[in-house]
């Protein structure tokens, strides 16, 4: 883990730690909470053969949509990509391997990793094709499906505010998958619109304690449509 006083870094350095072939969790549900600046830096640096884990594929030309269009993503683990026709086309052509999970199971697979577990027992999806081939276990006279935990090498998360130790506060519906991914990945890179000195954030208001965050970078509040547009009008 990075020492506390070494976490506040330039964005180039933080993203440069990501190698080709890395698995990367990316926060956001649609646009809110998507770490656009970190994604753009990843696009600029050129890492490829990436496995991305994100609720959705953003939209064409937006967020991870750009990485997919640039052919940098080999595999996408997601819940719903209906708003990115480019991603759907890449999937249908076999250029992008897509694994789909029900949204709440995806969230919990990530949370399970974040909690240091290795999976959980669920009845979600029983009686549907989601349960086909899923490992099962008998417990208390019933059959439960096993959903393995989903770990990743990196997480890119977006916060509204941070301090330079990496304590994070999310805003409105920009929270979504960010706090879960911040716990689940080995190395967590957070962007925030404002990074203050430790002590600036109220103790009870901190959503992600700094222990989980490896690097924190300050980014300008998004001003372009791309940086703030939700995935549907």
């Amino acid at each position: 883990m990075t020492l506390l006083y070494q976490k506040f870094r330039p964005i180039e350095e933080a993203i440069a730690a990501i190698p080709n072939g890395a698995s990367i969790m990316v926060g956001g549900f649609g646009s809110p909470g998507t770490p656009f600046a970190l994604i753009d830096e990843l696009l600029a640096q050129g890492q490829r053969d990436l496995t991305l884990i994100k609720n959705d594929a953003n939209e064409p030309g937006v967020g991870i949509g750009k990485l997919i269009e640039a052919g940098r993503v080999s595999r996408l683990i997601t819940s719903h990509i209906g708003l990115n026709r480019v991603a759907i086309a890449a999937m249908n052509r076999g250029e992008l391997h897509v694994a789909m999970h029900p949204q709440g199971l995806l969230a919990e697979k990530i949370r399970s990793a974040g909690a240091g577990h290795h999976g959980f027992l669920t009845d979600i999806g029983q009686g549907t094709e989601i349960a086909h081939g899923r490992q099962e276990i008998e417990l208390a006279g019933r059959t439960w499906g096993i959903e393995p935990a989903l770990y990743a090498d990196f997480a890119l998360v977006h916060a509204e505010r941070a301090d330079r130790y990496g304590n994070l506060i999310y805003r409105a519906t920009a929270s979504n998958f960010n706090p879960l991914m911040a716990m689940a990945a080995d190395t967590v890179i957070a962007q925030a619109y404002r990074v203050d000195e430790p002590g600036s954030l109220a103790l009870e208001a901190i959503h992600t304690p700094c222990a989980f965050v490896s690097q924190v970078v300050e980014v300008a509040p998004a001003t372009s449509e791309q940086g703030r547009r939700a995935h549907v009008g």
Partner: protein
Amino acid sequence: MSADQQRILARAAREVVAGQIVNLGIGLPTQLFHHLPEEMEVLVHSENGVLGCCPRAVGEAPDWDMIDSGGAYIATRPGASVFDSAMSFAMIRRSRVDLTFMGAFEVDELGNLANWKIPGKFSPGIGGAMELAQKVKRLVILCSHNDKQGNPKILKRCRLPLTAPTCVSRIITDKAVMDVTPEGLVVVDIAEGLSITELREATEAHLIVDEARLGRF
């Protein structure tokens, strides 16, 4: 929006009880948002992580961080909260959502629901529908009675991959309001001007009708 859709929404709004927590699925159900009286103490849940969302006031600027799961920019009402995706689905799986409205490709006599995948044609992922359908206390389906080709959507048995088995409580279409019961589909209301024979012809499922108790909508 068509007159049929308007009628479905007006009828659906009567399902909501003050004091409830309600989720509105993508598509037609989202529109119900605009049919709930502002003063009604109802908290609308959206699975991206907000409880208590409501439409923005006319002319109110969007808050770029505040969307519902359909991606619309929303506002919140007093008593609202925001939270992460794990908390949002914990709420769903623990059946803390009283009532959910969803669209459907197919519904059947057992209350099975298919609304996420057409093999070979449409499979963008299931999103949050599976957990909502399986765990909500009461699931009401809002959909057209027939598809664009006129084929029935209310079937004896669903043919498409299921969202969840035996999950539907009530179906509201442009032609009828039907309850899923142990005996089968019971028609509660029938559309103004439609005959029972016409309704049966537009439906694959067997419909149980007690004319004495039949309402109109």
